[in-house]
Subunit: 438 residues, 2 copies
């Protein structure tokens, strides 16, 4: 079986198993089990680490159901990290000799030449970061909110898993709005989200060569610079627009406004928690968040979207054109031409999926474009933020979102794989021609 | 002066002159002249052949004002056709010997090796097509609607100029809604729009080598195939969604529904007339039209948008990736790699302009995303369709639309020029690297 097929099958099986578990009466509060569509939606949202919910996680699901959700999140997050990193290894073996030397050097730099070592490394990093966040949140919940040990541990564990895996599920009906002004809750969660969203290769390189930025790969530099620009730009954009909105930031202290603006900007890389009411934000904030969510996080991590690298590559190609230069050079390295075409392919398919999904959702519901587009981008980029329409959608619309989540989580990536694995040379060349552009 | 600067200055001067003329009391019905912003908006909309209006063309402007608008449309349409075609000639002289041979051969095939011949050719084609439409419409207005000779001639002339130049201005308050079921009005106008939107190089090649499709250039083939796909797809999409909408197609005969659906699809290439009420269409129709308008028509014609060729090039690049092939081959010719980067650049800047314009319009008005996005796309792609919000916008929002129209009309094109003229070689190459995509 082709590796891309393996991972698609794996994710589909995990979702089906999760659906079955969530349909059991033991998973749902009150008599009977959850409906098929709601269970399927929740299982897909968990495995694809999206965080969109059609039912209220704390009141609809029992602790058993919540543990199932947490397990699905962890499984989905690990699955995508391992799979995407493996692709890197497979690629390294298939590339030309010269490229292979580079990639092998990079693989060596981050410390893994084989599959077992890679999986072990991913598990170690995951446990390490999640445990750190677990401790910080647990202590805060006990000292700051008077939770008992068990309650604090359970909430802290759930949030640690949900944040590092960029899932965005929480055990409060209002997600994290109760902690909007608390940096001791918001900042550890933000840190876990950002680290998970950078992607495993970047985390590993930072761990091994934090003090040697000259050794960093183009991937690491693009992800770090791109994430910094998006985080800061997003914080400024959201904070400025919402500053005086009484339904979001307007009633908070200036410091808390900045914290909440930053926290919401972090969520677009693509965790999906919310500490303010997304449904009350300005239309222009939604549009900006659409863009940020669509771009998403780093490759081979728990983030979704088209990935920071894809966007950065297109940006540098544009810059090269505007400067009239012949080849695309980024941080003193030349960008492989094959990457141009990959980036175009990923973006075109992503745009097509979001636009088609939005059109179908518009036809299925009577809702406006602003909320529907936000929902479609959020599902495709596996973000999980919503303006509040998810629970009220008809079943057909829920299924559309399920497909968008699945496609968004696996699509561009497996597609990229399929592409890279099938790379072959055409032995003849046609005469060249250039049509007019723009 | 750089040619790109010349054309930007030329368009700016034409707009300023038009603004001044439209501010004269003789241009406006009733006492006093038009306001600066309304005159500026109308002049920009006319010169950029957009067709968005903040005042009602037939009742606000006098016949003198309407003649000014018609002259501005003709000036703008000719200007963009001549300028864009000249770029082709300049490019042919700057390219490498091998490419130059191809381009020269193509230039010879369409019959022009020098600037004077080119301008004469464009004028001839323009007069020919506009006169044909003028006669057809004039006869119809006299026989079918009982107009006198003078009235019929004036309306026919205005519509002929407005349609071939893809301007979308009409002399009726309801644009062309009075002719929704009349093929003798709708079809000649559609033909003029489509021809103007194909672009001058395509028209010339069709004229000289209509029966020899094997000789057609890649540009001609891409524009023809792309336009056909978009026209038919757009007709099907709009007609299906609006079929039972009583405010648009629902009350018409089946044949008239198809005619109106086709006519509205034609408008997205980017003429901007309307024979049905755009403001009453379904949200999903608006979204589909957003996509169609954004793509627009053929290069070096009167159409706007990123151009059919740009979109087609990206589509074929994607196809090549998905097939795992090494070079992008279209209709048995290899696509120049420089074009990949040009297409990315045009699309990125277009998306950035539309998104930024939409965000600012959202902040300036209390309107919803669906209508604002439609307006921004319509302005940038110089379409002129509107859901009905243009006249009620605050002055600041009108100025944003003026900037979008100007940028959309000249931007990607002059940019493409600046790029092509500055093409130079970098004498050293950096080591190659490939970051992860998607
Ligand atoms: K998420
Ligand atoms: K137009």
């Amino acid at each position: 079986m082709h590796p891309a097929q393996t991972v698609v099958t794996g994710f589909a099986l995990a979702i089906l198993a999760g659906t079955a578990l969530l349909m059991l009466p033991i998973s749902k509060v009150g008599p009977g089990g959850g409906s098929f569509v709601d269970a399927l939606f929740t299982a897909t949202s968990a495995v694809c680490v999206t965080g969109l919910t059609v039912v209220d996680t704390p009141t609809y699901w029992t602790p058993f159901g919540q543990v199932v959700i947490m397990a699905l999140i962890q499984l989905g997050g690990l699955g995508i990290m391992i799979f995407a990193s493996l692709i890197g290894l497979v690629l390294a073996r298939k590339l030309s000799v010269r490229s292979r030397l580079n990639t092998a050097a990079e693989a060596k730099a981050v410390g893994f030449a084989d599959v077992r070592g890679l999986v072990r490394g991913i598990l170690k990093i995951t446990v390490l970061i999640e445990f750190g966040v677990f401790v910080l949140l647990g202590v805060r919940f006990m000292l700051g909110y008077g939770y008992g040990v068990g309650e604090a541990a359970w909430h802290a564990a759930f949030l640690a898993v949900s944040s590092f895996n960029n899932a965005g599920f929480a055990l409060y009906t209002d997600n994290l709005m109760g902690f909007v002004a608390d940096p001791f809750v918001c900042l550890p969660i933000s840190a876990a989200i950002i680290l998970g969203g950078l992607g495993f290769p970047v985390i590993m390189q930072l761990r091994k060569e934090f003090t040697k930025p000259l050794h960093w790969s183009m991937n690491t530099k693009l992800v770090l610079w791109g994430s910094a620009v998006l985080l800061i730009g997003g914080t400024a954009y959201i904070t400025l627009i919402e500053w005086n909105n009484p339904a979001t930031l307007g009633t908070l202290d200036p410091g808390a406004r900045l914290l909440a603006g930053f926290f919401q900007s972090v969520q677009t890389r693509t965790a999906g928690f919310n500490s303010i009411d997304i449904g009350s934000m300005h239309d222009a904030s939604w549009l900006g968040m659409d863009v940020l969510m669509f771009i998403g996080g780093g490759p081979a991590g728990t983030a979704g979207g088209i990935k920071v690298t894809t966007f950065a590559v297109l940006f540098f190609i544009m810059l090269t054109e505007l400067r009239g230069e012949g080849s695309v050079n980024i941080f003193g390295k030349r960008l492989s031409r094959a990457v141009h075409r990959q980036a175009i392919t990923v973006v075109l398919i992503a745009v097509a999926a979001v636009v088609a999904g939005t059109a179908v959702l518009l036809l299925l519901t009577g809702l406006d474009l602003d909320r529907v587009l936000f929902e479609a981008v959020s599902a495709f980029a596996t973000v999980g933020l919503s303006t509040g329409i998810t629970a009220g959608l008809p079943d057909a619309a829920k299924v559309v979102l399920v497909l968008l989540m699945f496609l968004g989580r696996l699509g561009p990536l497996t597609l990229g794989t399929a592409i890279a694995l099938r790379e072959r040379r055409v032995l003849y060349e046609f005469p060249k021609e250039r049509p007019a552009i723009g």
